[in-house]
């Protein structure tokens, strides 16, 4: 389970760097909006890429509770697990 989560986190960080630039420091606690300046449009584009990466669909209502990289990774991990 933990390795699945770590896999999600690693791939999520890779996608995030396409939106923030390669030099951005990203940790699980990083705030997507306040620290990485991921606005609502960027977030929805990021989600589309992640959906393709993991072959999942992320309901946009679920994003209302997401603030940090860890919370987004957890959401993706939960959806992947539910689909398996």
């Amino acid at each position: 389970m933990a390795s699945d989560y770590n896999d999600v986190l690693q791939k999520l960080c890779h996608h995030l760097k396409q939106f923030t630039g390669p030099d951005a420091e990203i940790t699980p606690e990083t705030d997507l909006i306040n620290q990485l300046a991921i606005d609502s449009v960027k977030l929805l584009n990021l989600i589309m890429e992640i959906e393709d990466e993991f072959d999942i669909s992320v309901p946009i209502n679920a994003l209302a509770d997401v603030q940090t990289v860890h919370e987004l990774a957890t959401l993706i991990h939960q959806i992947r697990t539910a689909n398996k």
Binding site: D39, S40, V41, K42, L44, D55, S57, P59, I60
Partner: protein
């Protein structure tokens, strides 16, 4: 951050982006001369951003009908239809819309926004899924949120992406409402309706088509994309608005499913809003007849569309993917879009400015809405203004 601080942040963002000497959003219109001309400040201007596709806002038949209704039934209904009853005009307009689409049922609403809010939130609920095009109008997003259903977006007009998402849903695709639009309001492109119908049939889903911008514009009698594609019987629910081609305010939903009528008892936006005024209903009934018989109006509209679209294309502007009464010029930055918007206003032409996040893909748009009431000379004048601005702004 306090509630008022949040609004201060909005004010600061507006100040950083927009000039203080002109009101870009909510421009004061000082007088209206006709369906295409008005006064802003001391300048006579051409309306080119009003969605008045058939130019019916001053049609004598609509004015006369509204005058008669206001004299005989008063200025308003002062309440919802559930509490205050349905006037004969409400019922007649619903029957006329049902007949127009050869459908079983129709409900009229007080605004087009409310039509989507009420229909979507009445159809879908907790445990259901709504699959919406990424470029959907805010009324669709808000209706989905109100419904409590899971909201999943697919890439704009991308049928491979839509199918992928239907496949991922498994059995849940059968409790899924797919929502698309006849003509999308930002770039003016059509939905690939035939392909969506095939997918919804394959996966057992339900389809809602919003014809807000295509009613009166597409099809021989102006039904919209369903008529242009010959698929009126294949779409489960069609919504639309009175505020564009019909020149009034209000909205509708028609359906081949008799269950539509039950929305009157479960849909909160319908139950808890005052019903449309007698004058609105009367002018809309007159406008619907003009729209249905308006083959000549549609021909004139499309002549104007092709004239302006091809001119702007030749000038080198990046445009929406196909000609339509919504002609969007796509600009790289909000500053460029603002310069074009402002330059057009100085030429006496009023259009829509759309800046992020309202426009797709973070673009900025200057959006023109063409009308059948525009003349060929006016389209020439607009083309010349865009030509001059291109020389100055893109130097």
């Amino acid at each position: 951050m306090s509630l008022l601080d949040k609004l201060e942040a909005v004010a600061a963002a507006r100040k950083a982006l927009l000039p203080e000497d002109v009101e870009v959003f909510g421009t004061p219109i000082d007088a209206v001369y006709s369906s295409t001309e008005a006064k802003i400040g001391d300048r006579r201007i051409l309306f080119l951003g009003t969605n008045n596709y058939l130019g019916l806002t001053f049609a004598p038949e609509c004015l006369q009908a509204a005058h008669v209704a206001i004299d005989s039934e008063g200025t308003g209904t002062t309440g919802s239809r559930m509490a205050n009853g349905s006037y004969s005009g409400h019922r007649a307009l619903e029957q006329e819309f049902a007949d127009f689409y050869q459908c079983h049922s129709c409900i009229v609403f007080t605004t087009g926004y409310q039509a989507n809010l009420a229909t979507i939130s009445g159809l879908a609920g907790t445990g259901d899924v709504v699959l919406i095009d990424g470029d959907s109008h805010a009324s669709i997003y808000d209706g989905c949120r109100l419904s409590g259903a899971e909201i999943i977006r697919f890439r704009h007009n991308d049928m491979v992406d839509l199918e992928k998402r239907l496949r991922r849903l498994g059995d849940r695709s059968r409790s899924t409402l797919i929502i698309i639009e006849g003509i999308y309001s930002m770039l003016g492109d059509r939905a690939p309706l035939a392909d969506v119908v095939k997918l919804k049939d394959t996966y057992g889903s339900t389809l809602l088509l919003d014809e807000a911008h295509s009613l009166g514009v597409l099809g021989k009698t102006g039904q919209g994309l369903v008529e242009e594609t010959g698929l009126v019987g294949e779409v489960d629910f069609i919504t639309g608005t009175f505020s564009k081609s019909l020149g009034g305010i209000g909205g509708y939903c028609v359906s081949k499913h008799p269950q539509l009528d039950q929305l009157r008892y479960v849909s909160r936006p319908y139950i808890f809003t005052a019903s449309p005024t007698p004058a609105t209903i009367a002018s809309t009934r007159a406008a619907l007849r003009l729209l249905r018989d308006g083959v000549g109006l549609r021909q004139q509209l499309w002549r104007n569309v092709h004239q302006l679209y091809s001119r702007l294309d030749k000038l080198g502007y990046q445009l929406g993917p196909e000609p339509s009464p919504i002609i969007a010029t796509i600009l790289d930055t909000p500053q460029q879009a603002l310069a074009i918007w402002r330059g057009l206003l100085e030429h006496g032409i009023y259009v829509n400015l759309v800046v992020p996040p309202a426009a797709p893909e973070g673009n900025s748009l200057v959006r023109c809405s063409v009308s059948a009431a525009h003349s060929s000379e006016q389209m020439d004048y607009v083309g010349n203004a865009f030509s001059e601005l291109r020389k100055t702004i893109f130097q």
